[in-house]
Assembly symmetry: C2
Amino acid sequence: MEEIKVFCPATIANVSCGFDVLGLALESVGDEMVVRKIDEPTIRIRKIIGQELPLETDKNVAGVAGLALLEKSSCSHGFEIEIYKNIKPGSGIGSSAASSAGAVWAMNQLLDTPFSPLELVQFAMQGEKLASKVAHADNVAPAIYGGFTLVRSYAPLDIVPIHTPNELYATVVHPQIEIKTSDSRKILKTNITLEKGIQQWGNLGGLIAGLFTEDYGLIGRSLEDHIIEPIRSILIPEFEHVKKAVMEQGALGSGISGSGPSIFALSKGLETATKVAGAMKAIYAKTDLDFDVHVSKISSKGVQPITKKA
Amino acid sequence: MEEIKVFCPATIANVSCGFDVLGLALESVGDEMVVRKIDEPTIRIRKIIGQELPLETDKNVAGVAGLALLEKSSCSHGFEIEIYKNIKPGSGIGSSAASSAGAVWAMNQLLDTPFSPLELVQFAMQGEKLASKVAHADNVAPAIYGGFTLVRSYAPLDIVPIHTPNELYATVVHPQIEIKTSDSRKILKTNITLEKGIQQWGNLGGLIAGLFTEDYGLIGRSLEDHIIEPIRSILIPEFEHVKKAVMEQGALGSGISGSGPSIFALSKGLETATKVAGAMKAIYAKTDLDFDVHVSKISSKGVQPITKKA
């Protein structure tokens, strides 16, 4: 195979009580990329459609992630990459992760899969480091593994795939204000109370159990975050309105996607998720903010080849 | 039914990264109780064999738990209780919880089960409040539900049964020094770093996932506690030696049982759990401390009727 076209899913990290550890992949929101072999032993970003992003390999997250893979590979050639962006950078649904994960997943396919998913996550994390100064894995892990993934540990890196119930849908609203990940990190406190810590790991335990047992009620009850959300949500206009409105429409729960400004809600079934989208739209339509709303099943797959001609 | 004899399992609370939320029940370590109906609408502790414990109903954990049930019940009679203690009070394997849980579970049977397991936990928590000033649920929940249980939340009380892999065994050593739960609580810090919190909920998520998927390796990797164990283990002689020795024997991991002084290790299979017991014995045999060692399967059941005559 000389060339591959792939779908690179948007992802939600910091899923409520799972701050810094739990992420999920969306089935129908994401970018596309074409990756093909070239003779020179390097990575070239051939074009980027849909967003203004750097074409220089060492300034582009897909380029940096690709170089990390190439360095560990024994192959004597290189790759060129075309990126078709649908995910807006800075939206909080893993724009950089989609590009980093997509690039290394596609390259691995063209090389006949010498690398494990865990290794691909490690390469893609280099892209994340370029994007936000921290080599975090909570977006690239679900982008590569699909479904819900838990980053149990960074040293050593330990990624745990979590069972994803079949009827689980995400609704995401992106109010178009800019919050930089590095800024939203700065406002967090270094210390938390032990009491809130216990609440948080109790909820994360409940959420993981709810996902494995497909207990939607338990999933909903566990979608609580008393540590990060109260601080970061101040930066997101209409956050409290949205939280209240989505519950009135039957959502299981909601929270900040990544470091914001997107807000996600989880629902059982497409019908509820669509109603939730309506509630989100109604709220932001009354503001002067531009916004996007996405409804998507939680994918059980990560980056995927696109077989039919686009 | 006028009378019932029950087995009341010992339990391990604060299972490593699951401080204050995760507990488990042992299959072959526990007390026995006989509970029978009496005409007077009260609870009477008829006798206690094996330990010196108060016979006054309002000073006995089983009595207080029983009164809590009786108060919510419509029955016009009462119960008397005989307790055959095998679990040493203050050992850290749920001695008071076994009595509280056993009493209310047995009473519920004699009343034709008007109360749910969750309600039984709430009654039994009153016994825990008498024993340690805090109405905690992390021992009584596994004592009643069996297996691993997660206390996701206290307000409202939300108990989540967690799948228990079939080959999971616990080895517990009880070095006979006295640590009061209230004292071991006092030495904990009120605040923790966010970084350690993230580590802890990552590990708890991994442990819950490992239990559901019966991934013994993941269970082992997740049995880490960087918050409570470093502080409380100072009170337990030979703690670090034991931790090291049980891993050399093939244990999955280990930690403080409850608030100590008992130390537990989890293993895959009886053979490893027995080797682990040998390592624990060898360490304390060199000290001048008295000690007990127990090896038990993790029970999938909580309090159980004893049908054959003892």
